[in-house]
Amino acid sequence: MHERILSNAEALAEALHEEMSRDERVFIIGEDLISHAGIFGQFKGIPENFPGRIIDTPISETCIVGSGLGAAMTGMRPIVDLHFSDFVTCAMDELANQAAKIRYMFGGQVSLPMVIWCPDGAGIRAAAQHSQSLEAWFVHIPGLKVVVPSEPADVKGLIKAAIRDDDPVMFFQHKMLFRKEGHVPEEDYVIPIGQAEVKREGKDVTLLTYGSGYYLSADAADELAKLDIEAEVLDLRTIKPVDMETVGASIKKTHRGVIVHEACLTGGFGAELTARIQFELFDYLDAPVARVAAKDVPIPFSPPLEDFVLPSVSDVVEAARAVVYR
């Protein structure tokens, strides 16, 4: 297989092109999409190739998500762009009380095939209101699926799965990863929602991660290798539903786990995953599950502050060493 290298932004754009060609019900709606083809260039080519199917809106997050909802209920398959995931706050009713519940409340009469696309994460000195990772909120809402891919190949396969899925899917992509590159197969493939991947094998400790945490973990695994610790890197890719089978297999092998995510520690997805691991795999654990996450403060603006708050490769290394040498 020859190496076809794409960035995360390109992988997304390619998948969107393919899906929008395949199914004319698919469209994209959100703020300021057309002029820049998406603020991260993620919709490159779409405005030209699919006129009328990428729609600029007023600044009205509530109604942007709501319009996705209403369109999904009446035969369309919207992709709703939330611009910055921080602004999910302006559409929480539409997400939590409507999108997640409508099918259930109405006894299964209707399906809501929609993707809520949320660029998230910190690192660009954008401060507290433009830097959050809020995926854990949505894990706590029955009725939503939550996908947080890291590498370009995953982005392509998973956005396709999300678009084809008949349920509402929250799709988070970290802003700092849009330029990250990787091999992306040319063919039309789908990565099923809810399937994790072991991206590096190891026997001493499992680094369980997703999104930007994957890159931290991959780098940490390199560092750990120098210390003769073989870390397995497990990229969850979907965090709801979570692939406990793959998680279980890895923990049964390594007996140690470190969860890595950028969202702040307390109440983050790491808590849920820890709770399940310790419950389902108690007898396999030789050490407590450790969590590496952002510190429990809003993301500050100034570079030394932001850098201090965010999780780092060395945090992962330290956490892994602590559980391994326990």
Binding site: T57, P58, V110, P241
Partner: protein
Amino acid sequence: MPDDAKTYLDIYQTMVTIRQFETMAGEMFAGGKIPGFIHLSIGQEGSSVGVCSVLRPDDYLTTTHRGHGHMIAKGADLNRMAAELFGKKTGYCKGKGGSMHIADFSIGFLGANGVVAGGLPIITGAGLSIKMRETDQVAVCFFGDGAANRGPVHEAMNMASIWTLPIVFCVENNQFASTTRTSYACSVADISTRAAGYNMPGISVDANDVLAVREAAAEAVARARSGKGPTLLENKTYRIKGHFEGDPQKYRTEDEIASWKDKMDPINRFATVLTKKKILNKKKIQQIWDEAAAKVKAAVEFAEKSPYPEPEEALEDLLVNP
């Protein structure tokens, strides 16, 4: 817009059916047959039937917590409605939704909503979808005067306007939002004046006159259907029953309620009109009320006889692909 005797009789019958259904619901709630809480639309039948009388089956409708009337007017099945209110398996939503979360997608009824103004963002999407799919459907959204003060209303009206969506925003001003008078909470006397802020027509009608509503709605629907965009229609009426069944109603007097009940009842007013036109007479009126009562009674029986869902069914219907 047909204005013949048959149409008028249909309208009258539907209003009476709603009244009988709501009356039954109040009784069943008081008798402990309907769990939770319910919000009745007695006195507001002019609004629901006036508007829905000009809709097609494939037009979309969203409503509120006070939506039984709209749902019946849109053509819903009384049996499945009653069963849903009772929490039964045979209900529209298999007992999962209840009064506040009931829907019938087969008639374009996209659902009641327990969140005040929750239907407005949804109707925007329904309108957009119509436009993108290039059908000539219309999307209608009922909401209350209280809802009118929530932000989503503003966003929805602006969006519908800039995209000339085929939407009728129908605010039912029944003079109260729960315990709060509209005259206190709303900065304008006529909510329809807000339409100008979105460059769309706005009109207020006496909604206890069902034909006035029908006329205004017909114009708004025609406008929407012909691609000219949204309208804000304010149906002025009065909530005769409490906000919810059991409401102590300390915020108003019996006299105030009575004054509306006596002189303004939309059903009686319409009966008077139709009687003058010789379309109705006392006997026919009695017959219509009896027929409606019988239908509602049958619905109650259906609901009562229906089983509750099995507990484990609570785990179904969340996702298409779990």
